[in-house]
Amino acid sequence: MSSSYAYFLSYSINALELIAAIVALIHYKKYANSSERYFLLFLWATFFIDSILGPLSSFFNIDNTWLYYGYTGVSFLFYYLWYHTILAEKLFKTITKVLSVVFMVLYVLNGTNVEFQKYSFVIGASFVLILAGFHLHQLFNSDYTLKIKYKLSFWITIALLLFNIGMIPFILLSKYFNIWVGNSIFIIILFFLNLVLYGSYIIGFTWTKKKYNHF
């Protein structure tokens, strides 16, 4: 595969981030009163860091490992905080708190060694999967099930679930085969997972209706 093709795919991921952020902005009114409103800021921050700061620092030959590692940590903590707000059951809330603390500890420990930084992602993603499961459980036991496609938190959860469930084996296996994740052909897999992630976000923001987003 030519490297220009890989470049194109990698820019497409940035484009997806931008489109998702724009769609979130356009439909902001529909979810302005819910806790999902922080996702607008989060998506723009993602685009800014991944598509502007990252490439800029590469351009000036600055080591940006810490930028991405920092983003990984903040984004997982952001997801945990969001789930903590929307999960209703006390047990789920407590588990969210415990998982957040465990993640923070492991994140700092792994952070000291660049080799282990990938495991922080795997751990963070596994915890997101657990919380996403809790939220789906909560949704499926409520009347929202009947009109689930209008519920923004459902689409965000689907996005996180599918992305992270794909990312975990991707990272672990590439580690196992001793292949660098940034390798040009693996961009295809990354692009596919990002397409699922931002595609779900875009569908969610477009389909959601105001009256289903009030917590």
Binding site: M1, L136, F140, N141, D143, T145, L146, I148, I158, L161, L162, I165, G166, P169, F170, L173, S174, F177, I179, N183, I185, F186, I188, I189, F192, L193, V196
Partner: protein
């Protein structure tokens, strides 16, 4: 790109793809199942609600028949008997006429109250005040209805349920409480309606008595059916109080 890279790429991508697709499919199946279960449950609840409303309506009708029979026997029957006695005793014609006129008036009132159209279009206030008039007229119990605040229209099915709960309370008061006074307050607030019915009868001990015969649970369940809350307070020799709160 070497052979090894291609091989690992194929393995990794198929594993990732497989997991993502399996997740999607299982989520879809799970969601479908939950949705169907919920739809069935809603359908069942709707049916149950309709059944309960019909039951309440039938009970109101039965109570009405009982009241008619009562009124025919105790009120109109008595007046006719009086007229007959007056005739037998050769009382003045004007006295007999007076009795018969009174009898006719009662008969007309009764026929007006029980005509199906009147019953159908009656509001909760009208229905309650009808009952209260009857209690006062037949000297069952001294009763009064007070309405506070700006009246708000509520759903007719909800009205049926409230009226039936109150009717049950009245019938308990008359049958068991030996009360002399009954007061009903409809308090319309901006966001809720509070109905209070209170008698000064014998009352009962809420903890001790097995009051299943009084239909207290039934009252509470019925209130719950229309998202209202019914509470019953009672103290021996002081009286019984029923409160229904309903948020608009």
């Amino acid at each position: 790109m070497d052979e090894k890279e291609i091989q690992s790429f194929l393995i990794i991508s198929s594993v990732v793809l497989f997991i993502v697709i399996i997740t999607m499919i299982s989520l879809f199946i799970l969601f479908k199942k939950r949705k169907n279960a919920l739809l069935l449950k809603n359908e069942f609840e709707k049916k149950h609600f309709e059944q309960e409303i019909s039951k309440a309506q039938i009970e109101i009708r039965e109570e009405t028949f009982r009241n008619i029979s009562w009124e025919l026997h105790d009120n109109i029957g008595q007046l006719l008997t009086l007229a007959k006695i007056q005739l037998q005793n050769n009382s003045p014609v004007d006295d007999v006429k007076g009795t018969l006129n009174k009898c006719l008036k009662e008969l007309r009132d009764l026929s007006k109250i029980i005509s199906p159209d009147a019953l159908k279009n009656m509001s909760l206030e009208q229905a309650i005040s009808g009952e209260i008039d009857r209690f006062n007229r037949l000297n069952f119990i001294e009763s009064q209805l007070t309405i506070k605040g700006q009246q708000t229209k509520i759903d007719s099915k909800t009205e049926i349920v409230f009226f039936r709960i109150l009717q049950e309370f009245f019938s308990n008061t008359i049958k068991h409480a030996k009360a002399t006074h009954l007061s009903i307050i409809l308090n319309y607030q901006t966001d809720m309606l509070i109905i209070t019915a209170k008698d000064n009868g014998l009352g009962f001990d809420l903890d001790k008595q097995k009051h299943s015969g009084l239909g207290l649970t039934n009252m509470k369940n019925r209130a719950k059916l229309v998202n209202a809350n019914a509470t019953i307070l009672s103290e021996p020799n002081i009286g019984t109080k029923l409160t229904i709160t309903y948020k608009f």
